[in-house]
């Protein structure tokens, strides 16, 4: 058996570290933190999330707040929104209070520095960025945003994700009125003498919430959530298999500075009004790809058999190498291996018969629409 390479850098403990260990989590290094990778097992946690509700600790992610010279108020948020639009391709100034949008920080070549959620949180613009690159994001924002824009890192806050078809009814019982939120909206609630900033969003393809809570109160909240028998804790392993099934890209793997939003099939995040108007870093190169079309594109692959193709596996059409897998694994929901790959445009159409090379074997794979497992977001009753 081969071991994972060990990391020598000191790891940060999550506010819920002992909580995870007490519940049998196996902790692994990830993004500079000791993170729970699994409790009961990835397949069981994946399936529980699809059928009931799971609690994920994603406190490693960066929670940032931006305000302008007017301070913590609507005017300050509007100033921050305008400034932020210089660094990403989404329309932020038109976001109403409590609305959120998926976007990407782009570099000057149109490469993706990170993907993130941007919310008009009322008195500020709130960002949730990937844990693995949060320090780079902060440096990038600080370097390129005007000095008058205040950037606050809410590093004393934890972030819990409650995901699954029963997440809505569970959270409504615990925190009344959260059920009124619809997909991609957020609001402030009170619970147990503290504030919760609740967003109806997530990374599993299921209905659910991300809940920002002060580190001092996160254990009480986690206890209250898993006290409901519909909720079980789940780890990073299931989070990864769920997001893969949901067709959601993972930063550092499926999207990087070497990929652009068009090739990544994230054109939906290029707000129409801004595609021509531009005014954001990387617009020129992105506009060129939009106009000329990408040469490679991120697609989904469903493999025959049971052997998964992992990141780095080469994709072939006959003898010709036409792409590479950027993430792959075994889908517990579908019971077969699935993957995301960048393949040449000429082999990217749905149904194209390709092969993935794994340890000298060629595994038949079919280009398939994503998500692999349909999204079930709550858009209102």
């Amino acid at each position: 058996m081969s071991d994972e390479p060990s990391e020598d850098i000191p790891l940060v403990k999550l506010p819920l570290d002992s909580w995870h260990r007490a519940r049998g989590a196996r902790m692994v290094p990830f993004a500079g933190y000791e993170m729970p990778i699994q409790y009961e097992g990835i397949v069981a946690e994946n399936n529980w999330t699809r059928s009931s509700a799971s609690l994920f600790d994603v406190s490693h992610m960066g929670q940032l707040g931006l305000t302008g010279p007017s301070g913590d108020c609507e005017a300050g948020a509007a100033e921050a929104a305008e400034a932020l639009e210089a660094l990403l391709p989404g329309l932020i100034t038109s976001l109403k209070t409590g609305r959120m949008r998926y976007s990407m920080l782009l570099d000057e070549n149109g490469g993706i520095l990170d993907d993130l959620m941007v919310t008009n949180a009322g008195p500020r613009i709130a960002l949730v960025v990937n844990g693995a690159v949060k320090w780079d994001d902060i440096a990038h924002l600080r370097e390129h945003l005007p000095d008058e824009i205040n950037l606050h890192h809410f590093d004393d806050f934890a972030l819990l994700a409650l995901q699954g078809p029963k997440a809505g009814e569970v959270l409504e019982m615990l925190v009344p009125s959260t059920g009124a939120l619809t997909f991609m909206t957020a609001d402030l609630f009170e619970w147990g003498g503290t504030h919760l900033w609740v967003s109806r969003a997530g990374y599993t393809g299921e209905d659910g919430f991300e809940i920002a809570v002060h580190a001092d109160h996160v254990e009480a909240l986690a206890d209250a959530l898993v006290a409901d028998e519909r909720v079980k804790p789940a780890g990073l392993g299931a989070r990864d298999s769920l997001r893969l099934e949901a067709g959601l890209p993972l930063y550092g793997h499926d999207i990087t500075t070497e990929t652009d939003p068009v090739s990544a099939d994230l054109t939906f995040a290029l707000s129409k009004k801004r595609r021509e108007a531009g005014g954001y870093m990387g617009h020129g190169p992105v506009a060129t790809v939009l106009e000329q079309g990408a040469t490679k594109v991120r697609v989904g692959l469903i493999l025959e058999g049971r052997m998964p193709a992992r990141e780095g596996a080469e994709v072939y059409a006959g003898d010709e190498k036409v792409g590479v897998v950027t993430s792959g694994g075994f889908s517990p929901t579908l019971g077969k291996p699935i993957a995301m790959a960048y393949v040449d445009m000429s082999h990217a159409e749905t149904g194209a018969a390709l092969e993935c090379e794994v340890r000298t074997k060629r595994l038949p794979a079919t280009v398939s629409p994503m998500p692999f497992v349909p999204h079930r977001y709550f858009r209102g009753s």
């Binding site: 058996m1 392993g237 298999s241 998964p308 694994g329």
Partner: protein
């Protein structure tokens, strides 16, 4: 029938000149849900410490090494249909392959059950 263990968490049962190889309960616990096992074909020559099989969990692929040198005589066909046997019965029904004992002296460097238990407790 003596059973030996490697520090890479394989076990090997030796009966006369044939051996059966699998991964330990500790190993399957670390790997989590096994979804696929790639076994060597009969006739494959194995070198001690060399790649012998690959075990795929939901999350990752891991190599399984040959505890000793020899030739593969049989793979466990049951794992094709039910790779989860490695989780449910790692040290019995979930065996990986059988092989000849090329050089019995190679067994001397392996751990016995008590030594392996102590080794795992130290991890």
């Amino acid at each position: 029938m003596p059973r030996y263990f490697t520090d890479e968490h394989e076990w090997i049962d030796v009966e006369d000149d044939e051996a059966t190889v699998g991964i330990t309960d500790y190993a399957q616990e670390q790997l989590g849900d096994i979804v696929f096992v790639e076994l060597p074909e009969a006739g494959t020559a194995l070198d001690k410490g060399g790649d012998a099989a690959v075990v795929e969990s939901v999350k990752a692929a891991s190599d399984v090494y040959a505890p000793i040198s020899g030739e593969v005589t049989e793979g466990n066909g049951a794992l094709e249909e039910e790779p989860a046997l490695v989780n449910s019965s790692p040290e019995e029904d979930g065996w990986f392959f059988k092989m000849t004992v090329g050089d019995a002296s190679e067994l001397e460097g392996l751990m016995d059950e008590a030594a392996y238990k102590e080794f795992v407790e130290g991890l």
